[in-house]
Symmetry: C2
Subunit: 396 residues, 2 copies
């Protein structure tokens, strides 16, 4: 049992949080580099939460620190990390594949413990804060499909196609003629292919283990959801130039990515080391110059605020409810790591300026309708179609 | 009568356009610097449109040139103008006032010749391309008011309040408790004040001849429509920092400005010389870094494409229908200048990447609702209110 000093703190608005460091070195490590060490100490059992839970601790700490200047050593460390981020994110073809495998090739049963039944592993869309995860992920699929302004018969590219849910939806329900989904995860690929076959969509929905940078051809629609976070600053320009090359002249692209509303920043070092190596969250100011230079036209930018906090809240609740199963798949340390990942991410969306950007891009400004009304109309039409068995029919 | 060579050209899709230069020098001037000289020659009657009209000529020329590389001398001239734009746009307090007076202190009767009855002098909002100007300007007012997410009782600042139409609408119909509108045009100020008094809103809607940079205090809502185009690149940072200072912590700001979808560029030299001295159209990549650094959060970006082309088409048709009245107010040269201004602007929206950005900004990411549904709901509510005599009641 930990013998170090116990710290109880709170802001009076909720129950107090009790933390204990296992030893003095743990406490010093935390003070000197909390961004890296808090997660590590928690994983190693050297930072114990004795009252409340790790999310409540992070929520309180980051809420308190919000907008306050940090001490000089921390600021110097931040500047250094910011300066060095290009090195950490030299994501060539080989490295990208390794980075992706690190996370997405984990045992698929782990993802079943906390994701929705469609394994949507990105921000859901909450009309109301109290939607269920399944409802909000269904709404997200509709929202993205609607913004792709499909008229029926399009050829769609899904960059970072995950376990295939969105691609199957676009072909099975939303009217795409053909979908090519590319992923760098073999586990994702295998399941996505299995699902396409089971759903009778294998002739129209193809999944490949392939880096988008190696693709050719022209696509009427491009969608990329939760993949841009793995691109890395050194490859942003390549991403947008390649997207322009792959997009048909009258095409529409929808880029859905976590980003930072406060401006460019470095990747949290704990997340980089344990969860998403080589990843980065873009600010709009980092993407816009490259989008303009690539010759893409921004036709719409939605900033989904707090939706990912709700998503992560729901994922964490589901994960904790089935924590024992996770511990049987991996081990205790892994479970603590995963809990910290979900908790710290939620806190970042509440307190550290993390948001989700949905950028709709085109090569011509008249590629999408004059006003946004078509989005809601398409969502309603898709919902009707789902109810009338569009999904069931597609799965037969 | 002009004796120079006649040029007839067309792309086969419409009737051919016939241009005649009055003399050889005119032709050379056009070739060497069309961005400045085409308008000047047209004003001076040295470039005559003998078949079609000046809009059709511009539409055809710019459509043909679109995406094609320009000859080296033109590119060098562009680079020079781009490099020098900071000098042309040192818009301090005195210069800004002079720049604004140049355009907005023209005889008010001129604006009545082509604007809608509310004198909305900015891009209208066309649900459908065939709305009337009056309908589309009413829709624009509703769209902006809706995006301000007014709950009733707010104190609103309108930066660049024009002839007062929007400010009066926000207080008279949309539920703002109090509106302060600032303009640098004495003509606009006088009419706006007269309208506030006539509408019985003078106690709640105040107009002042004042530079926004001299304001203090906190506003629940800030709106700025068609004013940012006069700010100039050297003052962009000041604009966003001042806006942040003036915005209440839970406030919402709506910035409506013409901009460039292709990236930063210089101001058209003819427009700068004759129409909007010191003006500039921003690219998103120019605004975003400054917005982030100012500590403002982008909560939504709508890109209105083609709406201003329709607006300008309608303005030009109205202006040409009453051209003789304009000639009596000013003279023939002025009328040609005005026609060229409206025609060239429309062509820029069709062929040169000009768009309108509506940026919704806040200081906190939860200042506006989770999804965009509230916008359409508020528009519908405002429309009902207008029909039930909200406007009439306000004007009593």
């Amino acid at each position: 049992m930990a013998s170090g000093a116990r710290h109880v703190f709170g802001d009076g608005s909720g129950p107090p949080i009790g933390l204990r460091f296992a030893d003095r070195r743990a406490q010093w490590a935390f003070v000197l580099d909390p961004y890296l060490k808090m997660g590590e100490l928690f994983m190693e059992g050297r930072l114990l939460v004795e009252q409340g839970d790790i999310y409540q601790a992070l929520d309180l700490l980051l809420g308190e620190l919000r907008g306050k200047p940090e001490p000089l050593p921390a600021r110097l460390l931040h500047k250094l990390r910011f300066a060095l981020r290009c090195f950490a994110q030299r994501n060539g073809l080989t490295r990208s594949r390794r980075n992706v495998a690190h996370h997405y090739d984990l045992d698929g049963r782990l993802y079943d413990l906390f994701l929705d039944h469609d394994r949507q592993y990105s921000c859901a869309y909450y009309d109301r804060e109290d939607l269920t995860l399944e409802e909000a992920q269904a709404a997200k699929r509709r929202h993205i499909a609607a913004k792709l302004a499909l008229r029926g018969g399009e050829r769609v590219l899904d960059i970072g196609s995950g376990w295939g849910g969105l691609g199957l939806y676009l072909a099975g329900v939303a009217g795409a003629r053909e979908v090519l989904g590319v992923t760098l995860s073999e586990e994702q690929l295998a399941l996505a292919r299995r699902r396409a076959a089971q759903g009778g969509l294998a002739d129209r929905v193809t999944f490949e283990l392939r880096d988008y940078r190696t693709l050719d051809g022209a696509f009427d629609r491009i969608v990329s959801v939760g993949m841009f976070e793995h691109v890395g600053v050194t490859q942003y320009r390549t991403f947008f130039e390649k997207a322009r090359d792959l997009l048909a002249p009258d095409g529409v692209m929808l880029l859905h990515t976590i980003g930072l509303s406060d401006g460019p920043w470095f990747t949290n070092p704990w997340i980089d080391k344990y969860i998403f190596p080589g990843g980065a969250l873009p600010a709009l100011s980092e993407m816009l110059p490259l989008i303009e230079k690539a010759g893409l036209v921004v036709t719409d930018v939605e900033v989904l605020r707090l939706h990912y906090a709700f998503t992560l809240r729901d994922w964490r609740a589901r994960f904790l409810a089935r924590r024992e199963e996770a511990a049987r798949l991996y081990d205790e340390r892994f479970c603590r790591m995963w809990e910290f990942y979900l908790a710290a991410s939620e806190a970042a969306f509440r307190h550290q300026g993390a948001v989700v950007f949905q950028l709709q891009l085109a090569r011509r400004q008249d590629a999408v309708p004059l006003t946004r009304g078509y989005i809601e109309m398409a969502e309603a039409a898709l919902e009707r179609k789902e109810r009338c068995g569009g999904l069931a029919a597609a799965a037969e």
